[in-house]
């Protein structure tokens, strides 16, 4: 079993590296030199050429953002599924992605005067914090509605998600309709996502949040396993259940909020990646948590690379690609679910 896990870990890493190197070379812009040479020349001369600008200021941050976003959404999805004890609990389905989007949009529209005074990095931090608050409020609401006595009512969980997504979709749509604020982008950005605006500041911020959050979430494997026995039983094994639940809720809200504030809604990743892994590894969270990060990074990197190369010079919104990859998997989840109910 240990060997099996190691094999999967290594293969995913290799795929990630291959995808990364490939992504460096693919895009609307054709390099005149090899990637390696470009980087070396840049370090030597300390000035940008068009080649190095595209590679170092545009492509590499975007690739890193895709990796971090994919990893973050996957590990959050996995953790939420453990928390709610249901494989359908993912950030987009239960509505916290929408909550984050709503607050990010509100911040841009109503906080524009403040935002313009701040330097970029602080602006991004403010946006992330507001998105975090949005995600957290939604998360709290959904949790309170859908759980009682440690049991999750999956129907209420999903319906709360539907309700919130509908509400935030309407408000965000309205904001984009009335707002002249250029920063607000358009509704397509928020509902289908885009990594095109990635830069080093954003990547650094997202990295910090995702690294710290993941480190914490990776330790929750045993607790999430134990939760499958029931909350009381898990407590008998020495775990502080209430503290763990709070931690997962806050960390997931923080990570999802940050990632969504910069890239818009990217759906399906948090649902589909853990689901695929469950086929091989059951719901053993000790294994699912780390593997979902790597697989999520791979999936989103591939999706983003396709999105920016398939209709050059334009780009397909990345949400379309994750939906194409995710919808069939979602359908198979439902078919499986129905089979179990019989």
């Amino acid at each position: 079993m240990k060997k099996k896990i190691a094999v999967y870990k290594v293969s995913f890493f290799i795929i990630l590296l291959v995808a990364l190197v490939t992504a460096l070379y693919l895009g609307a812009y054709d390099f005149n030199h090899s990637v390696f040479e470009i980087v070396r020349t840049y370090f030597k001369t300390q000035t940008h050429t068009a080649d190095s600008f595209v590679l170092i200021e545009l492509r590499i941050p975007r690739i890193l953002m895709a990796i971090l976003t994919g990893a973050a959404l996957s590990i959050c999805g996995t953790s939420l599924q453990g928390l709610f004890k249901n494989p359908l609990a993912s950030p987009d389905l239960i509505g916290i992605t929408s909550g984050a989007v709503l607050f990010a949009a509100l911040t841009i529209v109503f906080g524009s005067s403040v935002m313009h005074l701040l330097p970029p990095f602080l602006r991004y931090i403010l946006l992330s914090i507001m998105a975090f608050i949005g995600a957290l409020l939604t998360m709290w609401f959904v949790y309170k509605m859908a759980t009682s006595n440690g049991k999750t009512h999956i129907l209420i969980l999903l319906l709360s998600g539907v309700a919130i997504t509908a509400l935030t979709g309407a408000v965000t749509g309205f904001l984009t309709y009335i707002s002249t604020e250029e920063e607000l982008r358009n509704i397509t950005f928020w509902s289908l996502g885009s990594l095109a605006g990635s830069n080093w500041w954003k990547v650094c911020l997202v990295f910090i949040v995702v690294a710290l959050g993941s480190i914490r979430l990776l330790t929750k494997g045993k607790i999430l396993n134990a939760l499958m026995l029931g909350e009381k039983e898990a407590a008998h094994l020495g775990f502080d259940i209430e503290k763990t639940k709070r931690e997962i809720i806050i960390i997931a809200s923080l990570m999802v909020g940050c990632v969504v504030a910069f890239n818009g809604t990217i759906g399906f990743v948090g649902l589909v990646v853990p689901y695929i892994l469950r086929f091989v590894f059951n719901s053993n969270y000790n294994i699912l948590l780390p593997l979902s990060m790597i697989l999520g990074a791979v999936v989103l990197l591939i999706a983003d690379t396709i999105s920016r190369t398939i209709v050059i010079p334009a780009e397909l919104p990345i949400g379309i690609l994750t939906a194409i990859m995710g919808a069939p998997v979602f359908i198979s989840i439902l078919i499986n679910y129905k089979r179990k109910l019989k």
Binding site: G221, K222, N225, A226, M228, L229, G230, K232, E233, A235, H236, L237, G238, F239, D240, R278, N282, S283, N284, N286
Partner: protein
């Protein structure tokens, strides 16, 4: 080993446990019996710290029970609950391995895996490793969780406490007695077990002492031969019965009707 003085538990305005006083010694196998609704499971829940009760005094191994740390107490005390999850998407060995979670941080030791194997053998669940948990019968699931609970208490600490809430439900006769022997073995190593049982005869055969509960109070706490009298049992269970000594060991046998 356990001293409880005046424990009460109520929900809204109804008392589910009133004025509970017990003193339990090391190495005892104590059966908790009584009619439905008497408070047996509730009492066990209090002992396991699952619910919030009020009490004047509750010491566990001469220390106030609240002074034990959350991650310390699983090494001293384990509970087998009456209702187990129906669906656990893990391999069966992994479920039993959860009993060892208090003992390792990320990766299980070889010793942990050996303990898991040992207890799966003792509960006769080793052959289930390739089956899906959901497809196991009620009895098989039960034995799996028993293995887990026993594995949890496998350590060098003296005087441990095992709480079991109706561990024999769903088990066939052979497995019932095998389980009881496992529990008896446990207590003979100077550990204590409190077992909620429905079957008075089994309780009479195996327990060192009986707690007879009735309507949220302890009716009597003594050896089986003292507790199990015709008058008392008929009154508490509200049904006539006859008590007769066991042909081989003279322990009381209860025949209802």
């Amino acid at each position: 080993m356990i001293q409880i003085h005046d424990l009460n538990f109520k929900v809204k305005d109804r008392f589910l446990l009133q004025n509970i006083n017990v003193e339990i010694n090391k190495g005892e196998l104590i059966a908790i019996v009584g009619p439905n609704g008497a408070g047996k499971s509730t009492f066990l829940s209090c002992l396991a710290n699952e619910i919030v009760y009020t009490t004047k005094h509750f010491s566990f191994k001469d220390k106030d029970v609240k002074s034990y740390k959350k991650n310390e107490i699983p090494l001293h005390r384990a509970k087998f609950s009456q209702h187990q999850s129906n669906e656990i998407n893990l391999k069966n060995e992994e479920i039993v391995l959860m009993g060892r979670y208090p003992y390792f941080k990320t990766e299980a030791d070889l010793s942990d895996l050996e303990i898991v194997e040992k207890w799966m053998t003792k509960t006769e669940t080793s052959h289930l490793t390739d089956r899906e948990y959901e497809q196991l019968s009620g009895g098989e699931k039960q034995r799996l969780h028993l293995a887990r609970v026993f594995a949890q208490l496998e350590n060098n600490i003296e005087n441990k406490l095992l709480l079991l809430d109706e561990p024999l439900n769903n088990l066939d006769v052979a497995h019932q007695f095998k389980t009881l022997h496992l529990i008896k073995n446990f207590t003979q190593n100077n550990n204590t077990a409190l077992v909620v049982l429905h079957d008075l005869n089994i309780a009479s055969q195996f327990a060192d002492r009986l707690i007879l509960m009735n309507q949220s109070c302890i009716e009597m706490f003594d050896e089986p031969k003292n507790v199990l009298t015709q008058e008392r049992i008929s009154r508490v269970y509200k049904y006539p019965c006859i008590i007769t000594p066991h042909p081989e060991n003279q322990q009381p046998i209860i025949l209802f009707g």
